[in-house]
Subunit: 207 residues, 4 copies
Amino acid sequence: MSTEERVRHAAVRLFAEKGFHGTGIRELAQEAGISSASLYHYMGTKEDLLVAIMRECLDRLLRGARQAVDGVADPRRRLASLVSLHVLVHARQPAETRVVDNEVPALSESARKEVVGLRDQYEQLWADAIDDGLRHRVFTVAEPTVTRLALLEMCSGVARWYSPRGPLDLDRLAGHYACLALRMLGSADDECPQAVETARMVVSRVW
Amino acid sequence: MSTEERVRHAAVRLFAEKGFHGTGIRELAQEAGISSASLYHYMGTKEDLLVAIMRECLDRLLRGARQAVDGVADPRRRLASLVSLHVLVHARQPAETRVVDNEVPALSESARKEVVGLRDQYEQLWADAIDDGLRHRVFTVAEPTVTRLALLEMCSGVARWYSPRGPLDLDRLAGHYACLALRMLGSADDECPQAVETARMVVSRVW
Amino acid sequence: MSTEERVRHAAVRLFAEKGFHGTGIRELAQEAGISSASLYHYMGTKEDLLVAIMRECLDRLLRGARQAVDGVADPRRRLASLVSLHVLVHARQPAETRVVDNEVPALSESARKEVVGLRDQYEQLWADAIDDGLRHRVFTVAEPTVTRLALLEMCSGVARWYSPRGPLDLDRLAGHYACLALRMLGSADDECPQAVETARMVVSRVW
Amino acid sequence: MSTEERVRHAAVRLFAEKGFHGTGIRELAQEAGISSASLYHYMGTKEDLLVAIMRECLDRLLRGARQAVDGVADPRRRLASLVSLHVLVHARQPAETRVVDNEVPALSESARKEVVGLRDQYEQLWADAIDDGLRHRVFTVAEPTVTRLALLEMCSGVARWYSPRGPLDLDRLAGHYACLALRMLGSADDECPQAVETARMVVSRVW
DNA sequence: AATGAATGAGTGTTCATTCAT
DNA sequence: TATGAATGAACACTCATTCAT
């Protein structure tokens, strides 16, 4: 593993564990196995490093999500795939995703704009699937916007508690969340296994 | 409003907005309208202040939750009331609840133990309702533990986005979440209005 | 002497001796007899301190120069008084004046504008006296602008070498420079003693 | 232009513009178009580079000054030639000369001794001319030492303001300063054109 | 009750310099 | 000849906290 990768990994781990402001540059350097001065060969400012982490994670998520929904007509399958992918990624990369989810307020104005922009594009894919499902009457739910937010928070929460050492494997986890999501939307939950399959394929392609 | 309250409010607002480590003592003092030295008449250390905020919030939530479920036999109504209460509180007090949800890693070992202990007691009430519902076959869900976590994350997420200036009033919000929850558990969602009523009563009693 | 004054004196001494960039904040603190953290009770940034020193020195010089020329009709006496005052001040306060003369490039854009503005006002008084003298034919010199600059550099140079422990007292020094200046301008040099008298009075009033 | 020359030029430019302590090694490298590590193939330490610049400039000036006065009997012509040469050099090479004039305090003890020694030899030529002129009664001035310092500061000041884009060409500038100098010394100022001629010849030989 | 003054330890970042390649 | 990589020390500045008044 290159030094640059070690720096990145150290930052992801520490920012996730102690927060951006709770992580010192010297701590970061020690975790990466170099001096704090050397750190600056591999990054700009501490914030630049944070932005790079967020951008890459969101970029991948957005790219993956697009692959998961592109060309899929059935909104139930689209939504289920989005949920599965989101859960898979949050369970496999809890550190990265927690940084993305928690440290937005630590960003400066301009960086925040970029990051929020990416996140908005991503969430739009969820909104489209939900709207489509409502229009085609395969979803029945009172508040689509609130429900979308509820879904996203529910799925992102996985990064806060999932442990690979627990009894649940990733596929069953993702499948279960897909079921919960379809239930919330008032739909039958028989699309889940195929959605998990799609999500797994996307993950193997993008990560 | 007493000075002590002003300090508490300032801390809640800033810890929620910028995080514990992102908030300076001088910033806190300025927001409270006193000098940073005077701050120390109203608190111990900065961490003591954080702990006090978390403890009070969790205490109230736990007390409220107990009032909401005590003596209620139907697990659907218990669960729906817990969800409604949780959502109401997170929508009405987003700053306090975000501090509780986000700043646990900023605590020292011993303080963390206490706070996590309170949270565990609180979550146990949810677990009990779910288990009870499964036992009585009013709930049908594959992974009760995962589902409980999904529910909690979904509901806590409200604090991250709800705005009182939006189109949804608190009661409808709480009711909608109760419906979503019952759906997730594979139950009919006709207990929601009463659950909201219960939650409102509890809130008015405890806060 | 108050702590604030000690800080100011330390800064003047060190900035003059080693330059702004050559003076560390810790060195400054040590010279002032406080910790480097305490320094920040008595100043904004290091640059703010520099600007304050420059502003005060230039303000005084400008005020003094105006008092020295106001209401004096004879341009020879005006010019001689300006020279005497300039020399007196640079000999008595070599540290302050060297900071003003040497550290302008260390200033940020906006601060530099202010400082250069003050200096320009000051130099204008010299330009006016010279122009007036040429118009009234009491001065005879080919290049008035160049000559003004030559005069100013010559007089400012005093701060770089004059020592109060040398054989020349301040009055004779100032008088000699006034003579040199009048000679450069092609004028008789009999106004000097009165000019020194004027300068001494101004100095005692403004400093 | 060789890399070594590019380094030298970059250093001269930056040391003059921002001072020795205000110039970073990376900045220097960038200005020279190489990496900061490569810099060390062409210099010793940063201070060595400064010393080399100063030494060369002072060496040339001293050599030039000797050529300008050697074998010239008339002290007026000697003094006028020294002034002309000094002004020409300071106007043509403002960066080098400002470094020499401003950065002496940045030198370590031993380097400072060497540089000050060169400067003293140079100034001695001025002192000799003045003393000679006084002895032969072609100069009339009260304080020869002070006057020498005033002359030197006046002439060195040229480097701080002269611009080749201004209305004055170098010869007229040098001639004007020679006149000012002779006036200061109480002498007729008719030696100037020849002095400028001498200075120009010396410059073309030494630089 | 309130705060100006004070500080040791720490912040993120840059410094001049070295060295293996 | 040239440079990426590396670093200990220093940079200007802020931290949470204490204490005399």
